[in-house]
């Protein structure tokens, strides 16, 4: 890719600058409502029209189709990626936790624990749960086994009497 000045790197650099300027205008325009910023955002609205001056950004003519494509893509990104607000209830609750106006709940204590404490707590919890499950399963198997043996005993007693 060679530009009017014959420098390959600078061609990419100018395109990079153009894209950066558009992105700043697209994303800054909504927050900074001053006229200058708004004019900058508007300047990129008509990049599809033949009147848009790529020369102004020193983009070489052979790069114009690529530039248009990428500018269009950036506009699509702006339309698709929108901020998402947290719920008011969550924001208020967390603020109360942080500024010390809310009772410290178990969840808050958990979050405040260092990572290795949380890992140890998880491991401990898992071990206890696994141990209790194992005991319960063994007990259940014993009961089933006992019932099974009783059943067989009763069955053999019955067959003995029948044989007599």
């Amino acid at each position: 890719m060679v530009t009017h000045d014959g420098n390959e790197n600078s061609a990419t650099d100018w395109l990079r600058e153009l894209l950066a300027a558009q992105a700043e205008a697209l994303t800054g325009g909504s927050e900074h409502t001053d006229d200058k910023m708004s004019d900058r955002a508007k300047a990129f609205d008509d990049f599809d029209s033949p009147a848009f001056s790529f020369d102004h950004y020193r983009v070489a003519s052979e790069q114009v189709p690529e530039a248009r494509h990428l500018l269009h893509l950036a506009s699509q990104l702006r339309d698709v990626l929108n901020p998402v607000d947290p719920s008011l209830e969550f924001s208020m609750r967390l603020k109360n936790e942080l500024v010390g106006q809310a009772p410290v709940t178990l969840a808050v204590r958990w979050r405040k624990l260092p990572a290795h404490y949380r890992l140890a707590a998880r491991l401990g919890g898992f071990t206890i749960t696994a141990g209790i499950t194992l005991l319960a399963v063994r007990r259940a198997l014993n009961v089933v086994g006992m019932l099974h043996r009783r059943g067989r005993k009763a069955e053999s007693g019955l067959s003995f009497k029948t044989a007599l």
Binding site: L15, A23, T27, H69, L81, R111
Partner: protein, 203 residues
């Protein structure tokens, strides 16, 4: 420890507030108000669901509160520091769950559609879905850049502070990200959801 009721911190910049917040929870509350929406949006787009976004956002601020006494602004402004905490927690979250980075498809397609609900065609909806799916296939740092730029609307300088890169490097990364997205879109001519819905359309 608490600030007098009705204390107004609005004219105070972040650096001064950080100093005040070491002894004054109300000052920390002001910092929280300034950044909770941005941090929440960032975490939400990196995790893909509100439940984890709430949990991780809470952890970010709890961690910031615990460590604010030792935080010193050496070239890393408070905002960047907060985002770095969020980034680390999100990275741990992904590592623990061994999940791909998920961008919440339904939410942002819906949000995008809301803005142009009346004139939107099926074709443009399909285009948006393809774009979102292409974003999901990007490497972690490129997704991070797009979220910081378009969702949280930060400048290149601010993004550079968060990602520990120069402004020029962020511009280059943005350019490469757009090129990669364009390639993703041209290599995947139809969206996943459209492909999934095809058998239904035949009936």
């Amino acid at each position: 420890m608490a600030a007098p009721k009705g204390q107004d911190f609005s004219g105070i910049d972040d650096s001064e507030l950080v100093v005040l917040a070491r002894n004054d929870r109300a000052a920390f509350g002001e910092l929280y108000e300034r950044y909770v929406k941005k941090i929440y949006s960032y975490v939400y787009f990196r995790t893909g669901n509100h439940y984890d976004a709430e949990d991780l956002t809470a952890r970010v601020f709890h961690r910031a509160l615990v460590h604010i006494e030792t935080y010193v602004e050496r070239g890393v402004p408070f905002q960047a520091w907060l985002y770095r905490i969020a980034h680390n927690l999100v990275a741990n979250w992904h590592r623990d769950r061994n999940r791909r980075k998920v961008v919440p498809l339904d939410e942002f397609v819906a949000a995008g559609l809301r803005s142009e609900a009346t004139e939107d065609t099926a074709e443009s909806q399909e285009e948006r879905v393809r774009l979102v799916e292409a974003i999901q296939r990007l490497p972690d740092e490129r997704q991070q850049l797009l979220v910081l730029k378009f969702v949280d609307r930060l400048s290149n300088q601010e993004i550079g502070e968060i990602m520990d890169r120069s402004e020029g490097a962020i511009k280059s990364l943005y350019h490469r990200t757009l090129l990669a997205l364009r390639d993703e879109l041209t290599s995947a001519p139809q969206s996943e959801s459209a492909r999934r819905s095809e058998p239904d359309q035949r009936h």
